[in-house]
């Protein structure tokens, strides 16, 4: 109990240290995304008010979402790298993080929280809000809203984007932590996994696996099962969960190297 208490104490202090020193970076990142998102959606509203609802607008909606999601991932990746590399690149500040009296676990979870969770979460909230408001403004039928809301690329793409972020995060971290040979191995293993399991195809995501049961408008009960790889549906699921399940473990290993690294 005492350990858990200490962990949370360290954890909250580390978060405070991060935001006291870097609040403006987060704000800038969110600001940049907000500007782009709002600009893109104003464009949609303009088209809607000039020519009304059409298929082109629906496609534009989809593209905007993809663009904004990609931007969120890009910003998160940059932010995450910046946080990871903050003390690595700066010999004069490396000792700050290393010698700060907090546990490795607290240091690791604080870093994951502020770089890989909080920032993308805030940005996705912004995207969802803008999205919903625009959809409400542009609605001309219930059907269109259903269509727009069914197109949740930003959710579908999350696992692969997270995978990409962690991919680069791990390489950079390991490389900078004087473990270049481990970094190279990580690259090879992750590339093989990426190619083997088509992680960039939405249908293979474990969260929206293509097994589907439902009732059509005509009242027919259907069971949809799509074979998408050499693995069976169940094995595929297990493997995907394994891959995504090992990501946090891998990140923990990376963090271990980072916080226990030698001097640069």
């Amino acid at each position: 109990m005492q350990q858990i208490k200490l962990f949370f104490k360290d954890f909250s202090r580390l978060i405070a240290v991060h935001y006291r020193e870097n609040w403006w970076v987060g704000l800038f990142a969110i600001g940049a995304l907000s500007v782009v998102t709002i600009y893109k959606y104003i464009n949609i509203i303009n088209i809607y008010s000039n020519i009304g609802w059409n298929q082109e607008l629906l496609t534009l909606f989809k593209h905007n979402r993809e663009l904004c999601t990609a931007l969120i991932v890009f910003i998160t990746a940059v932010y995450s790298f910046a946080c990871t590399l903050k003390t690595y690149g700066d010999k004069e500040r490396i000792h700050d993080a290393m010698m700060l009296p907090a546990s490795h676990k607290a240091k690791f979870f604080a870093e994951v929280l502020y770089s890989l969770v909080l920032l993308p979460l805030v940005m996705f909230v912004i995207l969802f809000v803008t999205d919903t408001v625009t959809a409400l403004i542009c609605q001309n039928s219930e059907e269109n809203i259903v269509l727009i809301n069914a197109d949740k690329e930003h959710i579908y793409s999350l696992p692969s984007y997270l995978y990409a972020i962690l991919f680069f995060h791990s390489i950079t971290t390991l490389w900078r932590a004087d473990n270049s040979h481990i970094a190279v191995r990580t690259v090879v293993v992750m590339t093989i996994l990426f190619l083997a399991f088509y992680v960039n195809t939405p249908l293979t995501y474990p969260f929206i696996w293509s097994d589907f049961t439902g009732v059509t408008r005509e009242g027919l009960h259907i069971v949809f099962n799509m074979e998408i790889s050499w693995a069976s549906s169940e094995l595929g699921k297990i493997l995907h969960y394994l891959i995504y399940g090992t990501l946090p473990i891998m990140l923990y290993a990376i963090s271990y190297y980072k916080h226990k690294e030698r001097s640069l």
């Binding site: 700050d96 290393m98 907090a102 030698r262 001097s263």
Partner: protein, 280 residues
Amino acid sequence: MIKLNNLSAGYSKRHPVLQKLQTTFAQGNIYGLLGANGSGKTTLLKTICGVLFPLDGEISAMGYTPQKRESDFLKEIFYIPDEFSLPTLTVEKYVDTYAQFRPNFSRQKFESALKAMNFTFGEHLHRLSLGNRKKFLISFALACNSPLVIMDEPTNGLDIEAKRSFRSLLASEDLTNRLILISSHAVTDLEHILSAVAIIHDGAVVINSTIDAIAANIAFTSSTNCNDALYTDGLRAIVKAEAEWSDVDLEMLYMAIHKSKDFRQYVIENFSGKESVCNR
């Protein structure tokens, strides 16, 4: 308090900077770690802190293994590197942010140390000059009241007045159950405040002894009419202390160890294994 057991340290196993060090640094002392440029002072300090991992052998600091960098160990140690920068914060915000990690931090001590060092307030820390950054971090380190304080070249960049203040601040420190380890090649900056000294030469700690023990064994005298000198530079000489008692001339001791093989041998024979006398 710090025990090195066959410790080899450095950046490459093939060419370790320090080899098979076997010594202890006892608490209750202000230790001066002296050595030439590149002799391994910083390497040793970093290894004691756990920033560098030992290449071979063992190290124990206050009962902890430094390279594990456990939270409890980090709370008991404060390391001031030779070169460092400070975050984009004001003094107040820095203290609010970082002092909470230090259980024994005294704000009053911090403020009086800053005042004694003539620190210039009112700027963001990252914009401070090297001297002011040093003043700030030294004050913060002393205010943390950590049992183990390690300073790497702390007087680099300090002006004459600040060096004097630094010495008087250190002299007024309560050293009960504490150890302050300072590395420097500016010997004169540390004279009269050190209670013990360790000198590194050729990757080994040649001497590790209290100033009192050194003064009891050797004397520093004028080289005229001195036939049995252990070392002489033409003006002054080091002789065996018999009837004479003199202040320890650290600069001369350092030079003698670096220049004279015979003197080094004498020191190794007469001082090695006597680290226990460092206990106050």
